[in-house]
Amino acid sequence: MKKRYLIIALVALSLLSLFVGVSSISPMDLLDFKSEETEIFLISRLPRLIAIILAGAGMSIAGLIMQSLSRNKFVSPTTAGTLDATRLGILISMLVFTNATYMQKISFAFIFALAGTLLFMQILNRIKFKDAIFVPLVGLMFGNILSSIATFFAYKSDIIQNMSVWLQGDFSLILKGRYELLYISVPVLILAYIFANRFTVAGMGEDFAKNLGLSYNKVLNLGLVLVALISVTVVLTVGMIPFLGLIIPNIVSIFKGDHLEKTLPHTALLGVIFLLICDIIGRVIIFPYEIPISMTVGVIGSAIFLFMLFRGKAYA
C-alpha cells in the first residue's frame, strides 16, 4: 500500500466524481466561465467532492484515533455510540430551542458527542471482560439506547421523518453553502497528525504511556474531543456514514501496522478513496436516480467488516 498509488487513485477518482452526474459536464464546458455547466460544477459537483474528501478523511481518522485510545480494533464512532449521541444532541437542541441557530445546534451536538464518547470510555474502564468482539457489542448496545431515547422524543414531537434524514448519510444534498462546516476537519486532522505519536503511545496502555512520561489523561481527552468534532461536523452536513471509521483503519493496520504517524496519511487517503468509490457507485447504479451514501457504504462496508471478523481474531 504505497502512498503514491493511493494519491494517483485519489486524483483519478476525484476527476471521475466531478464529471459523473445527471447533467453531463465535460471539462471543455468549464472553459466557458458563465455557462450553466460551470455553475453546476461550482455549486454542486465541486462542493460534493470536497465534502466527500473531508468526510472520508475525517471519519477514518476519527476511527483510527478511537481504536488506538480504546485499544480495541472494533471501536469506532459507529460502534461506540458517538454518532447516536451526536444525533440525540441535534434532536434535543431542536426541541429545546425551537429556533436553534446553526452554532447552537453544533455546540449542543458536540457536547453530546463528547459526553457520549466519554461515557463509553468510562464503561470500557469498568468492564473486566475486554474481549475484542464484546467491547464493540457493548458500544452498539449503548448506541442503541441513545438512539431509542432519540426516537422516543422524536416520536413524541412528531419529527421522526426529520430525524431519519440525519440517519442517512447523503451527499446529494451537498451544495455550496451547506457543507462548509466540514472544513473544521482540516485543523482537526492537522492536530491529529501533530499528536499522532502521543496517540500511539497512549494506545499501548496507561502504564506504558506513564512510563514514557506521557500525560495519559490529557491525550485521551484531546483524542475524544477531536473524534467528537469530526463526528458532529459530518453528521450535521452529510449524515451518518457507517463502517468507514471501522474498516479503513483496520485495513491500513494490516499492511502498515499501528504507528499512527506513519499510518495516518494512508488511512485518510484510503478513507477518501473508499468513500469516492461508494459515492460513484451510488450515483450510477440506478442512474439517473441516486442511492444515499450510507446505503452503499453500509452494504460494502459491512461485507468487508464481516470478512475481517472471519479472517482471524488473532490479529484483532
Binding site: K73, N197, R198, D207, L212, D258, E261
Partner: protein, 253 residues
C-alpha cells in the same frame, strides 16, 4: 537514589502495602520476593509512580516521586509491567524508538537513532528489527521491551515479573542481560520475581514481602537461608550450594 519511606497502599480499606520502608542500593539488582498477594507489584508500581502511595513517600534523589515532572521522571526511571500483551502492531524498531519518547516526543533526531541502534545491537535484535511484535515469540518480545527500556536510557530499570511465561532458556537469557546492564552500564535494576532461585542466583539484594510488610531485607546471602525463608514462605526449604550458587530445593518440602 531511591528511598521508600513508610509507604502504604489500601485497596478497599485493606492494606496491600503496609508501612514499607526500603532503601534501594544504586548499581545493584534488588529483587522483591514473597508469596502471592504480598504486595510486591503494588510496591513496584508506587516506586515507578504508576500508583500513588496513600501514605508515606517514595523519594528519588530526595524528592517525592509525585513532585517530579512526568517527563523528567521518565528519563530517570523506567518500568516494564508484567502484561506482555500488546494489541498494537508495531515493528521491533518502532517499539524501541518509542523508548526515546521522553527525549524527542517521537520525532527522533540523530542521537536518538544512535541510541536505538545501540539498544537493538545490545539485545541482539538486528535481524528482527523490522518484524512486527505480534509475529514474535514471548522471549523475543520480552527482549524487545527490554531494548526499549535501554533506549529510554534511565538509571533505574524496574521490571514486574519479566520471566512470566518464559521458558528456562529465555528466563536465563533475560536475567543474564539484566546482570550485564548492571555491570556494564551501571544501571540499577529492581525486579519482582516469583522464582526464588533466580532471585538467589542473580540479585545482590533481596526485599522479602509478606502480607504487605517487609519481612526481611538485605544482601542475598542473608535472605537465602532456611530460617529466613521459613519466615517468608511458611515452608521448610533446604538450601543446596552448587557452583557457588545457593539453590532452594522447595519442590518436596
Amino acid at each position: 537514589m531511591i528511598q521508600v519511606k513508610e509507604v502504604s497502599k489500601y485497596f478497599a480499606k485493606k492494606p496491600v502495602v503496609d508501612n514499607v520502608s526500603v532503601n534501594i542500593q544504586s548499581g545493584k539488582i534488588t529483587s522483591f520476593i514473597g508469596p502471592n498477594g504480598a504486595g510486591k507489584s503494588t510496591l513496584l508500581s508506587m516506586v515507578s509512580r504508576l500508583l500513588d502511595a496513600d501514605t508515606g513517600e517514595v523519594l528519588l534523589d530526595k524528592s517525592d516521586v509525585k513532585r517530579w515532572k512526568s517527563n523528567d521522571f521518565s528519563k530517570r526511571v523506567s518500568i516494564l509491567k508484567q502484561s506482555n500483551f500488546m494489541n498494537v502492531r508495531l515493528t521491533i524498531r518502532e517499539l524501541i524508538s518509542f523508548g526515546r519518547f521522553p527525549y524527542s516526543k517521537g520525532r527522533l533526531n540523530e542521537e536518538d537513532e544512535k541510541m536505538v541502534d545501540q539498544a537493538i545491537e545490545y539485545m541482539n535484535l538486528g535481524d528482527l528489527q523490522d518484524s512486527y511484535m505480534d509475529e514474535l515469540s514471548g522471549g523475543q518480545r520480552q527482549r524487545a521491551f527490554i531494548a526499549m527500556v535501554i533506549a529510554q536510557d534511565t538509571e533505574y530499570i524496574l521490571l514486574d515479573e519479566p520471566l512470566n511465561n518464559l521458558d528456562m532458556k529465555h528466563s536465563v537469557q533475560i536475567m543474564k542481560i539484566l546482570r550485564k546492564l548492571v555491570e556494564d552500564l551501571g544501571k540499577t535494576v529492581i525486579i519482582v520475581l516469583h522464582d526464588i532461585n533466580f532471585a538467589s542466583v542473580y540479585s545482590d539484594y533481596i526485599v522479602a514481602l509478606k502480607d504487605g510488610r517487609v519481612v526481611k531485607d538485605g544482601p542475598t546471602h542473608e535472605i537465602i537461608n532456611s530460617d529466613a525463608l521459613k519466615e517468608i514462605y511458611d515452608m521448610d526449604i533446604p538450601i543446596q550450594e552448587m557452583n557457588s550458587c545457593r539453590i532452594c530445593v522447595y519442590f518436596n518440602s
